[in-house]
């Protein structure tokens, strides 16, 4: 096994799937000679040519709409939206059209398309290079939503997403790209969509998270462990399908739940998980369901002070863990 970064794992998954299946192709802004602004497609134009690594005009509605049309004809498009903040022009095609294509044709039409989107903040990106867009897609039946946090997960999940016959929104937290490194097996493997992963087993309370915040949760769990707080940390890995069983099993064991994510707190993934647990594990709860999430402001600002104040970091999570453990 070799240690790799998230961006390397993503690139490897794309390369392997393109070698394996000639119908897979990439389209997006700067994906060709530039190799993508985060270098996810570096070297791929050289290997697969300009017909399978398509540098598009700067127009997101067409990137997704054209990919969708190609999917109708049986290709496996892998469009890239350069930053999540620029997905909005394509939302008509993604939420409006792609999500409804299977249902609206009573299953006649398949959409084997995976839209890769770097998202999230903590990189001084300000209001338009830091957005958390996951909740909008999570709320939309017909889309699958994947949010890996490690290189191993990113590679295995991206390969599964590409092979899936449904539109998948594949969200890569851009701060994890180079920051998070981990072992990736040399051979071929895939990971199923819809299966969460317990990244740290524990008994005192349950933490549910995903993406970059997952790592902050692990840090916080480490910090409070000497105080006798033994947190179980669940990485959702995919938001849709949501692995409800893993969450419920853990909460039934620990009796306490904290959900952490960078996206705004109101109406976020955490709200849905809280409702799920209140509904199906109410009698097991020994304390209030806690959330440590982005506050309800329109994205984290640019200034370092304001960005820090926004981000659910290990310190904020540890404080909430102590408060919850005291119940």
């Amino acid at each position: 096994m070799a240690v790799k970064s998230v961006i390397e794992a993503v690139r490897e998954a794309i390369r392997e799937e393109m070698r394996r299946d000639p119908t897979v192709f990439v389209m997006g802004e700067d994906v060709g000679a530039r190799g993508g602004v985060f270098l996810a497609t570096q070297g791929l134009m050289e290997e697969f040519g300009e017909d399978r690594i398509i540098d598009t005009p700067l127009a997101e509605a067409s990137i997704v709409g054209i990919a969708l049309g190609a999917a109708f004809r049986g290709q496996r498009p892998l469009p890239e939206i350069q930053f999540s903040d620029f997905v909005w022009p394509s939302v008509n095609q993604l939420i409006g059209e792609a999500a409804r294509s299977c249902y609206g044709t009573n299953g006649a039409v398949q959409v084997p398309m995976t839209v890769r989107i770097p998202y999230g903040g903590g990189i001084r990106g300000g209001l338009f290079h830091s957005q958390n867009v996951e909740t909008h897609f999570f709320h939309t039946p017909g889309l699958k939503v994947v949010t890996p946090s490690t290189p191993y997960d990113a590679k295995g999940l991206l390969k599964s997403a590409i092979r899936d016959n449904n539109p998948v929104v594949f969200l890569e937290h851009k701060k994890t790209y180079r920051l998070v490194r981990g072992e990736v097996p040399d051979g071929e493997y895939t990971l199923p969509l819809g299966v969460a992963d317990i990244k740290r087993p524990g008994n005192t309370l349950t933490i549910v998270s995903y993406g970059l915040t997952l790592h902050y949760c692990l840090e916080a769990a480490q910090e409070v462990a000497p105080e006798g707080i033994d947190a179980e940390v669940i990485d959702l890995r995919t938001l849709t399908p949501l692995d409800r069983e893993t969450i419920l099993t853990s909460v039934r064991k620990t009796g306490k739940l904290l959900i952490a994510h960078e996206d705004n707190v109101t109406g976020g993934i955490g709200a849905e998980i809280a409702a799920l647990v209140a509904d199906q594990a109410f009698e097991y709860l020994d304390g209030p369901i806690a959330r440590v999430c982005g506050p309800d402001v329109p994205t984290m600002p640019f200034a370092q002070t304001l960005e820090d104040a926004y981000i659910p970091d290990p310190t904020k999570i540890a404080t909430a863990l102590r408060r919850l453990a005291a119940y």
Partner: protein, 341 residues
Amino acid sequence: MPPRKSRARGNGAADGALPANLSGDDLADYYRRMALCRAIDERIWALNRQGKVPIAASSQGHEAAQLGSLLAAEKDGDCFLFPYYRDLALKFAAGITAEEVMRSFMGKAGDPYSNGRQFPLQGADLPRKIIQISNVVAAGLTQSVGYALACKMRGEQTVVLVYFGDGASSQGETHEAMNFAAVHKLPVIFICENNRYAISVPQRKQMGVEEVASRAAGYGFPGFAIDGMDFIGCYEATREAINSARAQGPVLLEMKVERFMSHTTDDDDRRYRPPDEVTQARQRDPLITFGNLLLEQGVLTQEQIDHAAADALAAVDAATDAADNASPPDVSTLHQMVYSG
């Protein structure tokens, strides 16, 4: 009206004449502003390499287009601007201080555009009649048309100038904005600063036409491609466009410029750009050609030009120190102004 080119101009007034409606003082003033813009732009890039400025997009190579059009807008006195992220020179020369620019780039309190919430010089500078909500490419075009519509509804004479790149010309909203503006004959000047690249994507991969200006014909309003490295030419074309827009509706001005730097401080253009391209382009550096023109015409002496550069450096030094020592925005501001009133 078919698209046509404005009369050919070289760098500076090929015929030797300066526009009659501009005084020597106007031109000297704008030369000094351009020198200051260049100096601050270069400093910002250096500060990025020192870790003090997280991100910057440079105006270097676009200054004649930005400042020539700004001068026309200023002279007119009733223009409203919707710039884009590459318009550092435009936003600075429109009247904020060097220290305010630096505060914005360093994310400090007192950034006049967003008080440190946004990328540098993004938000609004209403005293200077400027709005730029985001750096979402082409999002400002429809907004600018709406602004012009409102001005018309209110019986105002304002002409709106909206700036965008060649890349932005591909967005659906660009089409929608131009079409609506044409239908309602709104006084909007669409200024395309065409540097032939959308980050790494060359023009031939962006569009099937040679000139963005040719699109205007499809909407039914005039479009002109001009040399965006020529300050006087950009001033003249914008002045004429302002008059035309007020009288009969939209105009598309494609200003052909050069991007001297990488796309942003995060980019490395050696990945996709032939090395000698920028060297070639710099032969037509607008700061030099404009300076030479003013020398030839006796508007400025060499000594005054040297002074302008020295003064610019001193101003940028002072601004850098002041901004570096300034406080960041207070964390309490994080929750403010999500809603108004």
